[in-house]
Symmetry: C2
Subunit: 410 residues, 2 copies
């Protein structure tokens, strides 16, 4: 008799975005004339840029001719893209990478979800709280999380609270942890770590032989100095960190699907006898069995991001969304709300007024302003009393949403 | 201290295709003038067809305009593609499918590799021998396979030998199994099962509450009647089978990346208390955490396969490769070799002459004819003494390779 993976039964059934959809759908049904503005999911709205479209089409054209047709590609991705990644995203930061340390994939979500597979079941996993749900759920599915307690925390995971009380800077864990998920600029809070703050984590990982899984999907939104764009800007990080990057948020690839992950060759994991093994080789071994590379024309499109024209275009994309972020920050601040993030990231993290809980505030904005955001509690128990608004809508919609919210009284 | 997934250490280190590359590279170095013809890896050589290129480009164009731009798509894939799949690939076979039973993905390899995640660790897994390595390796990595014995078999798996002695028709297992991987038309042997033969497996699975993981990636190559194109042609199969299909081999998508998997809503798995759960919902749950859909323009390209023009084009592609298969069959038969497959599949499975082992025959063809195939033993111990040749090269190269081999004496 076939048995299911019972770990799936430990997952909370109401995935946050499904519950949001339910409430919005219900409201729309009852109020068919309401023009709802969605600032919940972190999805981009601006089209792919000209350079990207041109590169994409050229890639498609090549697939139509026998001389330039591409079958199975290299597991790690094409060298033409990997070279641009290293040259543009790492060399200027003073970081040296070997082409075999870069793995092109179809998304940072699959990669951050799959990376735990190369690690043993007994590792202790630490996550910030609130947190991007993929880190937690992929470990629950694998069996590392245990039951969810009444406090909304899976008992097998170590939670690192990030709230206004600690300026959203997680404290080092009090008990040893082996795998540490860090996402900066942070999803969902929009906050960042300085080099000094991140260096403490690298030091911790080096001392404890832990691995940091560093999600830098929002790196392009960093505006201020002294905020690391890559964890490898921190000395010694190549021995303790895997970094995830994506073209989704800088170049609008959420529906095009391309990302990359850096697994340095210095990175080692251990067996129970203490022998060390290359994590780069383990990750490559996983890919050879479970992956067959990213669509060739998509990789050609991604390469075009690195042309002079492409680099200009994505700067414009980012500043378009960051202008929205500034408008959101200003409008909400004028209302007297406490807001965080939105300076080096497209997410604004709002403290709900009058001790409302996250879902109360969600319902208020939906009912009174027809604006949809994301209840902070959906990202973890320490997100209760907070609310996430994204800057990814159009300028017009962002202004309209803020006008409506400004008319409310709390 | 971070621990690795020690199951990875159980994997044989020399992946067959890597070993082939090593030997070919060495030979090329020593014989720089040899013009080597590759008939090893199952990769296509003909370019994408016109209808597909047009659909692909139209999809790219839509991504360049705000009104038609697509961000995150539906997890299961776009309805425009799912509807065509059902209408063209299943309705004509008399099979009714709900749109929520179709899951569009970036490949049959990732899907057949990932599907085991939704099942518990204690299921007994059966594979045919020889076998597509992904089924075995993905279960070893998860911890279901145990050590490899001296017989070349992982001790935790049940092997179902397929050799000329049983006409490549696997016998039902003598001990109960829970998960059964079947691939028909078969990779690597190129052989098929009739409806009656497949029906025995469906009956077995129904009686034992097992699940059949049916890989139909080569379905388009079926030429004869009474060979099922889908396992759901067998009555009752929707309660016991998941089916994997791909655009790689019929439409040349190996480098474009699109496939789909059918998980019927009737399919149930059980927890240790015997409660039943929908496998469709479990697979969907996995996708929401670890996947973000297939690139929109790639799905638009896949849709174009189903246009009248597209259908004509892929028929031509398939018959091009099947003409190669016929040439290979005829040439090798004239030499007095025993050959199998190649009638309903692009693979020809050759019994090596004079009791040569698979690698001896590999070296002979490489050294004397400069032709590269795949040693059968690389697909499992029952593949020893066999050799796989693919029909995916060009007509010219196929003829040239057969001319060279015909000059050999065994």
């Amino acid at each position: 008799m076939v048995q299911i993976n019972e770990n799936y039964l430990l997952l909370k059934s109401n995935y946050i975005f499904a519950e949001i959809d339910n409430r919005v759908e219900k409201y729309e049904k009852e109020n068919p004339d309401a023009e709802i503005i969605r600032m919940g999911i972190g999805d981009v709205t601006k089209p792919l840029t000209k350079a990207v479209i041109d590169g994409f089409k050229q890639g498609v054209d090549e697939m139509g001719h026998a001389e330039t047709f591409k079958g199975y590609g290299p597991y790690r991705g094409y060298d033409f893209l990997i070279e641009e990644i290293i040259k543009n995203d790492y060399t200027p930061l003073g970081i040296q990478l070997d082409s075999e340390e870069v793995f092109v994939s179809d998304g940072a979500k699959p990669d951050t979800g799959n990376i735990q597979e190369i690690f043993g079941m007994d590792n202790v996993v630490a996550v910030t709280d609130p947190v991007y749900p993929v880190y937690v759920e992929s470990n629950i599915m694998a069996g590392r999380g245990g039951q969810m307690g009444e406090d909304g925390r899976y008992q097998g995971l170590v939670y690192l609270p990030c709230t206004k009380e600690n300026d959203f800077i997680p404290e080092l864990p009090k008990t040893p942890v082996d795998l540490i998920y860090l996402c900066y600029p942070n999803n969902p809070t929009g906050t960042v770590l300085t080099k000094e703050q991140l260096a403490k984590w690298v030091e911790y990982a080096r001392e404890n032989k832990s691995i940091i899984l560093f999600d830098a999907a929002y790196e392009a939104y960093i505006q201020e100095d002294n905020i690391p764009h890559s964890i490898y800007e921190i000395e010694g990080a190549k021995e303790v960190a895997i970094e995830f990057r994506s073209f989704s948020k800088n170049a609008g690839f959420t529906g095009t699907r391309c990302a990359y992950t850096i697994v340095p060759k210095e990175l080692m994991g251990f067996d129970t006898s203490g022998n060390s093994y290359s994590l780069n080789e383990l990750w490559f071994r996983r890919l050879t069995t479970k992956f067959n590379g990213v669509s060739y024309p998509v990789q050609a499109a991604a390469k075009a991001i690195y042309s002079a024209e492409g680099q200009e275009e994505i700067k414009e994309l980012v500043s378009y969304y960051m202008k929205n972020a500034a408008i959101i920050r200003e409008s909400l601040a004028e209302l007297g709300l406490n807001i965080y993030g939105g300076i080096n990231s497209p997410y604004i993290w709002v403290k709900t007024p009058n001790n409302m809980d996250s879902w109360e505030f969600f319902d208020l904005l939906l009912n009174k302003a027809h604006v949809v955001g994301t209840p902070g509690v959906g990202f973890g128990p320490s997100g209760e009393g907070y609310f996430r608004i994204t800057a990814f809508n159009t300028l017009e919609n962002t202004k309209e949403a803020m006008d409506r919210i400004s008319g409310l009284s709390f």
